[in-house]
């Protein structure tokens, strides 16, 4: 199954989104959450992102969701450090953080492929609320 890594500037947003997405998952989808700086402030911690990327199972693919630009920058840096083979398993999604996490959890649980999940969560439709 495609696993999911959530990278937010806020540990609360990261953990809360993990909890919300896990409620919807079927099967063995793994969801990891990283948020805030080492000191617990708002920001990103590349070391923590690196550990999370290393620890999570990437064999069927890994989708990373990041909240804002500097989280994206930290994630991309960590991804650049990986071997090409591992790197090829991972995609950083152009998707809204909370909404993307929930839909990705549902679709991964259904056994959808990385491409199928990305096409759902990267669609403009996902931000419609009514």
């Amino acid at each position: 199954m495609v696993n999911i890594l959530l990278v937010s500037h806020s540990v609360e947003i990261a953990e809360g989104t993990k909890e919300l997405a896990e409620q919807m998952k079927q099967g063995e989808v793994e969801i990891a959450a990283v948020g805030g700086t080492e000191a617990g402030e708002l920001g990103t911690n590349p070391d923590a992102i690196k550990s999370a990327v290393n620890e999570i199972d990437k064999s069927d693919g890994l989708i990373i969701l990041a909240d804002l630009g500097s989280a994206v920058m930290s994630v991309n840096m960590v991804l650049d450090w990986l071997d090409d083979e591992v790197r090829a398993k991972i995609q950083l999604a152009d998707a809204p953080f909370v909404e993307g996490a929930v839909i990705a959890a549902v679709e991964s649980g259904m056994g959808n492929s990385m491409e199928e999940i990305l096409s759902s969560i990267e669609s403009a439709e996902i931000i419609k609320k009514n």
Binding site: E38, E41, L42, G69, M73
Partner: protein, 209 residues
């Protein structure tokens, strides 16, 4: 061999830490108000790290600075300056600096920052202080300026570049969320870059003879 570089970096860290409030204030106007906090935290760790360790080469020293910044800064400037120092570490010689090696160092910093942030000159970022400084060095090389002259011009251009961010509209980073309202404020990252360049130049001056 690394003592001189260590001293420069230690001084550079002091300058950043001294300017914590100034940088944070600039970031409050067009960002999230943490650039000084981020940079001071990172460079405090850099001081501890480099003063508590021995390095065989400047390459090792600079790599250590890079990884410390990446781990501790927490904002966009962490990956950006971290990657800059990482790229610098790949080209920095252990010999005394020349205009040529300074150009290579400066260009590596620019390359690292662009690799991470994909910004060009004129987008109201740290690059707007650094690129003119590197360009000045390149011009000095063409003109046949001596090192002293080259360093002086480099510092002046960095300062001009920093000030030139005031009328710019940000199109990268958090300040870009403000659109036109980012105009009229000096970029915090360009300011920290100028402070670093100024410090390096002033320190190199001390050793010039």
């Amino acid at each position: 061999m690394t003592e001189k570089s260590k001293e420069i970096l230690d001084k550079l860290a002091d300058v950043i830490i001294e300017n914590k409030k100034h940088l944070t204030k600039l970031d409050s106007a067009i960002g999230d108000g943490d650039h000084g906090i981020n940079m001071a935290r990172g460079f405090k760790e850099v001081k501890e790290k480099i003063n508590g360790n021995n390095y065989e080469t400047n390459q090792e020293l600079l790599k250590s600075v890079a990884m410390t910044l990446i781990s501790t800064v927490g904002g966009a400037s962490g990956p950006l300056y971290g990657t800059a120092f990482l790229y610098i570490s790949k080209v920095i010689p252990d010999a005394d600096f020349t205009i040529d090696s300074l150009i290579e160092i400066g260009q590596s910093a620019v390359d690292g920052i662009q690799k991470r942030g994909k910004a060009e000159q004129g987008e109201k970022t740290m690059l707007d202080a650094i690129i003119p400084a590197v360009d000045a060095l390149k011009e000095s090389k063409e003109n046949g300026d001596d090192l002293e002259e080259a360093l002086q011009k480099c510092k002046v251009k960095a300062e001009e570049g920093m000030k030139a961010t005031i009328p710019m509209q940000a199109t990268k980073g958090r300040a870009s969320y403000l659109g036109e309202r980012s105009i009229g404020h000096q970029d915090p990252g360009a300011t920290s870059s100028y402070l670093m360049i100024k410090t390096i130049v002033d320190e190199l001056y001390k050793y010039k003879d």
